[in-house]
Amino acid sequence: MTPLGKPLVFYLKYVAEMNRLYGDPEYYGGEPDLTGLDDAGQVRDMARIVGDTASEQVADFLELCGRGIEKHFTSLGIARLAGKKTRAFIKNHWAWSTELQVPSVATGEFWCGVWITAPPEVRISLANDACGVVVPWLWSMGGRKGEDAIWEVVGSWADSRAGEGLVSDSGTVALARIPVTPQPSKSFDVDRDQLIAAVMETVARIRAKQMKAIARLVAGLKETDEN
């Protein structure tokens, strides 16, 4: 077992508090009101250390997921990958993504990514003892129509569409919600390898046939728009 990292699991358990103490104050609506927080100065210092470490651990985890996803799509022999995200981007956004192009289908590009989050950042109920979720997703331009195109291919097994709680950006389909569950439940211990395996199991369901089908549907949308 490789640990996901206690600081990261802690962050997910206390997203609202950590965002206020560690997040950019500008981003979270100004300086936080610390009424009720004992030893506020010391706690802030600790939150900074935990936040910094958690961001590194997120980047480690998502880069590994990304490598696996890139390998999968490359191995299909029909895809070209573009738009690689930097580690700095991953640390800032807690998300990794890549653009997938199928050279035989011009303008049929779409994106695949993974992000890690927790309520209240997303409006979902977590499974018992879980403290966050890992979400592999697909996205296409074209808003709701792009989403329809992806859903037509993966809708029989994918988790949900934009606006259904897990993902909100129009054009996105959440492929799965993989719970981040500490073992034992009160601890901050989570097996990173298991999470990566679950992400890969989900993404591996997209084979060459599905990829081409999505690319064709996405390209079709653009042709319709142009006409």
């Binding site: 206690k6 600081p7 609506g29 250390i49 209240p120 409006r123």
Partner: protein
């Protein structure tokens, strides 16, 4: 242009390049790194447990605050309202639905009957000057095409007008909102020149409106980041004055929708859950508390002689 390079040349180039790359890290560097690393504070298990304890107490104090303040909320406060204006249509986070509505609400000539109350509240927030009875505005526009000055696009909301104090040249208010999307490449930067030329010496207020008030990735520092929660708070400050206006209930459902769908503060039942279950993590209690403080402060302000 293409060049035909011999294999030998490329092999030599590789060899030379290899000599230019930094060699293995020096022992001195590694030893210093080890020393400095040893002095860094660690996110140890004990520290995490201590932090968890502090956070639990902070949350509990904040939830007590919410409980007390929630009881004092007006019955028609948007936070109590379970109905979101746009959600039934699936437009809860649709950017254009929000920006067009915002333009209409800010327009002093809108059928809502608010006059310039909301526009003046927003300008007061941005400029720091109390201007409601000295404000004259042109019709507020949404989705304004921007062409020229090297820019192309659509600005979400544009308002223009004057202060009737005879002292200043007037003002221009531009709002660019993003709900889920990111800015287009250099989007705000491209709007800059167009806006400056449009303002032509008048005071220019630029608002970058997002769910959490994140700063823009591009554009000058003149763009003021503002969260939707902050916008609701600005409107909430003058909400009480609008109760008799024809558009009051529309405004209530709109603000309730912003709180629920954009700020993810609610739904309403989540706030009630805070009363029952201290371990609930589905709602951000600090955002709810921040809103409740505004309501309280606006009442105190209104009560001042």
């Amino acid at each position: 242009m293409s060049a035909s390079l011999s294999r030998k040349f490329l092999a030599d180039l590789t060899q030379v390049y290899a000599t230019l790359r930094p060699q293995a890290l020096s022992a001195a560097f590694l030893s210093d790194l080890k020393q400095v690393h040893a002095t860094l504070p660690l996110a140890s298990g004990a520290n995490l447990r201590l932090l968890a304890k502090r956070f639990d107490k902070w949350r509990s104090v904040t939830q007590d605050f919410i409980r007390t303040r929630f009881r004092k909320l007006d019955k028609d406060d948007p936070l109590r309202c379970p109905v979101s204006l746009f959600r039934p249509k699936g437009y809860g986070r649709l950017e254009t639905a929000h920006t067009r509505t915002l333009a209409w609400l800010l327009d002093p000539n809108g059928e809502h009957g608010f006059g310039n109350t909301l526009l003046a509240a927003l300008l007061r927030h941005l400029s720091g000057r109390d201007c409601s009875d000295k404000l004259r505005a042109k019709p507020v526009q949404s989705e304004v095409p921007i062409n020229g000055s090297g820019a192309q696009g659509r600005l979400d909301v544009l308002a223009e007008g004057i202060w009737e104090d005879g002292e200043s040249a007037g003002w221009v208010l531009a709002i660019e909102a993003k709900v889920d999307a990111w800015e287009g490449e250099d989007q705000l930067l491209k709007y800059e020149a167009w806006l400056r030329s449009r303002a032509a010496g008048r005071a220019l207020f630029r608002v970058f409106l997002t769910p959490k008030g994140r700063p823009p990735e591009t554009g000058s520092e003149g763009w003021e980041p503002m969260s939707f929660l902050n916008l609701v708070q600005v409107f909430r400050n003058v909400y009480g004055k609008l109760r008799l206006a024809p558009g009051f209930h529309f405004l209530k459902f709109y603000l309730a929708g912003v709180l629920q769908d954009v700020c993810r503060l609610l739904p309403y039942q989540d706030v009630r859950r805070l009363f029952r279950y201290a371990g609930d993590r589905s709602t951000d209690p600090y955002a709810v508390a921040s809103y409740l403080k505004t309501v309280h402060d606006s009442r105190s302000e209104a009560g001042k002689p």
